[in-house]
């Protein structure tokens, strides 16, 4: 990576059972991923309200990623299926409003996929960094 590359702020919502555990496993395996990623633990990806995503952007996040159990593996049976529909609609709506689609992502990461977690985060950070600062969904009051 280049030295002067933009350091984006990434908020990652991870479900407690799979993705948060996956992130833990990434740690256990000492897998390297950018420190720009800050994880918020939620019981299930379906706990993530579209409002949280918007709030994160308002507060200055440059990218928001939501991670949950693979479809079919939800600890609560079906939560991630709802997440998938909700986020599909939200992301599409943001895209419709002309907000860069690379700033939002939904990924399925199981508790066993520490490597995938790290790789996903590396990729996401890189893509968001390439976009630079979030200008289209920012609240100037929250800028320093």
């Amino acid at each position: 990576m280049q030295v002067n590359e933009y350091k984006p702020l990434i908020v990652a919502f991870c479900c407690n059972w799979c993705s948060y555990a996956g992130a833990d496993l990434a740690g256990n395996n000492r897998a390297d991923y950018p420190a720009e990623v800050k994880i918020i633990r939620v019981p299930c990806s379906c706990r993530v309200n579209p409002t949280f995503v918007l709030k994160a952007f308002q507060r200055g996040a440059d990218g928001v990623i939501i991670c949950g159990c693979h479809p079919g593996d939800c600890h609560y049976t079906s939560g991630n299926y709802y997440t998938r529909r909700r986020m599909a609609m939200l992301f599409s709506m943001l895209d419709y409003l002309g907000i860069e689609r690379e700033r939002t992502r939904l990924e399925w990461v199981s508790a066993a996929e520490g490597a995938k977690f790290a790789a996903t985060m590396r990729d996401f950070v890189q893509k968001v960094a390439a976009l630079g600062e979030n200008k289209r969904l920012e609240d100037l009051r929250c800028k320093k």
Partner: protein, 664 residues
């Protein structure tokens, strides 16, 4: 406003190595609500915990933030600490600065910065935490064991011996599972039937055990301590209570050409059958796909010969609903299908068999009464080639097999080879192997005996192709140690097929809301510390459904699962998870969105009277959450348009406060 204490753990050098813990503690000191902040080498140690307790007392703390390892590791520990200090345990939040910070970031400046942010988020959350009190629910003191193999039997026996009622649900007409099909067991070579069948009988006769054979679980509701399970007793067209297992019907059944699944199709059974002599329950079962009477109403011989009058062609599937406090999954394994392995000619030649088929061929109760005869022509094979790792340890890109090691193949192949040489010393026996894995008590000695005492020829290398040529099977392989190609004209080839979870496991997992790994093995709650529990409370794992296992391992895990179940059932009340959804009825529209998405049916509605500020009374439909049923996923909170539904412990404002703190 809270009075928050922040405790930054060094975790030895695990955290302190890449995070400046002093700086983190210092930085968090000025966060809103924080009145105390410190660091320590091992917060989870007794002295670390004492430090927290002292601080709670000295600084009148109302909330605690521990910057340490993953909450999945020590959240419970610190909640207990808080509890011991007189704080509500849910006033504790963990900032994961080890797994998600110090272990993944190398630079101390970056790591420290991130640790501060994570700590800040935890502080922001604790500021909005409210004391939570878990609800209590009674425990139904009865367990369900799904699967009647050795794992299920052992678990059931242990639970029953502790004095709790146990039901075993077995989909086959008899319990016994795979072990019942085996001949001898490694490494002691005692006969499988001799050690298994007494246990089967024990189970059948145990006053606390009920066996639902030829039955399947059709639905599971409820939650730990209070499961409601619907069991489908498949129609066997024989009244179990009356049938004496005399076998007269079997003898007279004219439908003789039904492949016998117990012998893996190597011989035939009748349309009415008892799987094997020691079957439990020893009652006949009519195969509806084979029986003429059931298919087209012509025959009825069995009914005529049954003196007990047990035959009932009108029998229907029966659904039984039972309540359980705990459920043990013991669904076991199956060898994989070898359809995709054309190179081994399994589907082209009858003399290419699987190891399980080999077990039946050498079993005295098998199709050949224990004589080792070629399935194709019934001749004694003179040259036998065993091929290991068929479908095991495949590369991840291979679509045919499994990535994992099936664990038991090395040992049973050694057993087969040894037994063959023992019984038929003139038979040449070759084993193709990648590695021979023998980590078990007396395992390696066993393998060496096969090589050294019995002259089994082990060839390190894989088999590229097996070509049937006339009566022979030309096995083309490589000998890696001697670096040459080998061609063996074999009479019989035995494939050590990989094992995989039983096909019924996946739908069952869905019913149980228990998670599975990518190979459909059930996931344990913790790979090391909670290996016999599923992450779903009240669901336990026994045997090969969790991963490949041999018999001794299976039995020990079965007993371990039983111990966990006994522990659970011996409680009178269960303390629930207080992090459940709750609806603010003043804001609830009663629109039913939440109810629709709740996977547990935890939400119901009631008409409630509201006294309006203008003194009128208005009746409105509002949602109510059953906290004992709610598992706390939070799906309803997003479905709710008005925001009336919120999730305790993960409230909207808490999550948003975390977002704010992270983005600050």
């Amino acid at each position: 406003m809270q009075r928050i204490g922040v405790f930054v753990c060094w975790c030895g050098s695990n955290i302190a190595g890449t995070v400046d813990v002093k700086q983190v503690a210092k930085a968090l000191e000025s966060e809103p609500g924080v009145v105390f902040s410190t660091d320590y080498q091992y917060m989870c140690s007794k002295s670390g915990q004492d430090m927290i307790k002292d601080a709670v007392r000295d600084h009148r703390l109302t909330g605690i933030v521990v910057c340490s390892c993953s909450p999945r590791m020590h959240e419970a520990t610190f909640r207990k600490t808080a509890s011991a200090a007189g704080l509500n345990p849910y006033m504790v939040e963990i900032a994961n600065v080890r797994e998600q910070c110090s272990w993944v970031h190398k630079d101390i400046i970056i790591g420290t910065q991130k640790a501060i942010i994570l700590g800040r988020a935890a502080v922001a959350k604790v500021n909005l935490n409210a004391p939570l009190t878990p609800g209590e629910s009674p425990v139904t003191k009865r367990a369900l064991v799904i699967g009647g193999g050795i794992a299920g039997i052992q678990t059931a026996l242990d639970i029953a011996d502790a004095g709790f009622e146990v039901d075993i649900v077995e989909k086959k007409p008899t319990i016994g599972g795979k072990m019942a099909q085996l001949d001898k067991t490694f490494p002691t070579l005692d006969c499988a039937a001799c050690i298994l069948t007494p246990k089967m009988v024990d189970a059948a006769q145990h006053e606390k055990i009920r066996i639902f054979s030829y039955s399947e679980v059709s639905s599971v509701g409820g939650f730990v301590g209070n499961f409601t399970v619907s069991i489908r007793k498949k129609a066997r067209y024989v009244n179990e209570d009356i049938c004496t297992g005399c076998g007269a019907c079997v003898d007279k059944c004219p439908m003789k050409k039904v492949p016998n699944e117990f012998n893996l199709g190597m011989d035939n059974r009748r349309a009415i059958y008892i799987p094997f002599a020691q079957a439990v329950p020893k009652v006949a079962t009519i195969d509806p796909n084979a029986c003429n009477m059931l298919k087209n109403g012509k025959c009825g011989v069995c009914a005529k010969v049954c003196t007990a009058g047990a035959i009932d062609y009108t029998q229907k599937d029966e659904y039984i609903e039972e309540k359980y406090g705990a459920i043990v999954v013991a669904t076991g394994f199956d060898p994989i299908s070898l359809d995709k392995f054309d190179e081994y000619a399994y589907n082209n030649s009858k003399d290419v068999i699987t190891s399980l088929e080999f077990e039946r061929l050498t079993n005295a109760a098998g199709p050949t009464q224990g004589k080792l005869l070629r399935p194709s022509d019934g001749k004694h094979p003179e040259k036998i080639v065993f091929v290991q790792c068929v479908g095991s340890r495949c590369s991840s890109c291979s679509e045919k097999g499994k990535e994992y090691c099936s664990k038991i193949c090395c040992m049973y192949t050694a057993k087969h080879a040894m037994l063959t040489r023992d019984k038929y010393p003139d038979t040449e026996v070759y084993v193709f192997y990648i590695d021979v894995r023998t980590p078990g008590k007396s395992f390696d000695e066993f393998y060496r005996r096969a090589v050294e005492d019995y002259g089994v020829k082990y060839i390190k290398g894989s088999v590229g192709k097996i070509v049937p040529e006339g009566e022979k099977l030309v096995v083309q392989g490589s000998d890696l140690l001697n670096n040459r190609q080998v061609v063996i004209d074999a009479d019989l080839v035995v494939l050590a097929a990989a094992i995989e979870p039983d096909k019924s496991a996946r739908p069952l997992a869905t019913m149980l809301t228990a998670s599975m790994d990518t190979n459909d093995f059930f996931t344990e709650a913790h790979p090391k510390l909670r290996p016999v529990e599923s992450p779903t409370a009240g669901v336990f794992l026994s045997g090969a459904c969790q991963g490949p296992k041999d018999i001794p391992e299976t039995v020990s895990q079965a007993s371990a699962a039983a111990a966990k179940v006994i522990g659970l059932l011996s409680k009178d009340k269960l303390v629930g998870n207080p992090c459940v959804a709750s609806s603010d009825e003043l804001m609830c529209n009663g629109c039913s969105s939440c109810e629709r998405v709740c996977p547990y049916g935890a939400i119901t509605y009631e008409d409630k009277e509201f006294r309006m500020p203008d003194r009128t009374v208005r009746v409105r439909r509002v949602a109510k959450v059953n906290p004992a049923v709610c598992q706390g996923c939070g799906c309803c909170t997003v479905a709710c348009p008005s925001g009336a539904m919120d999730l305790r412990g993960f409230k909207n404002d808490q999550i948003m406060a975390e977002v704010d703190a992270i983005c600050k």
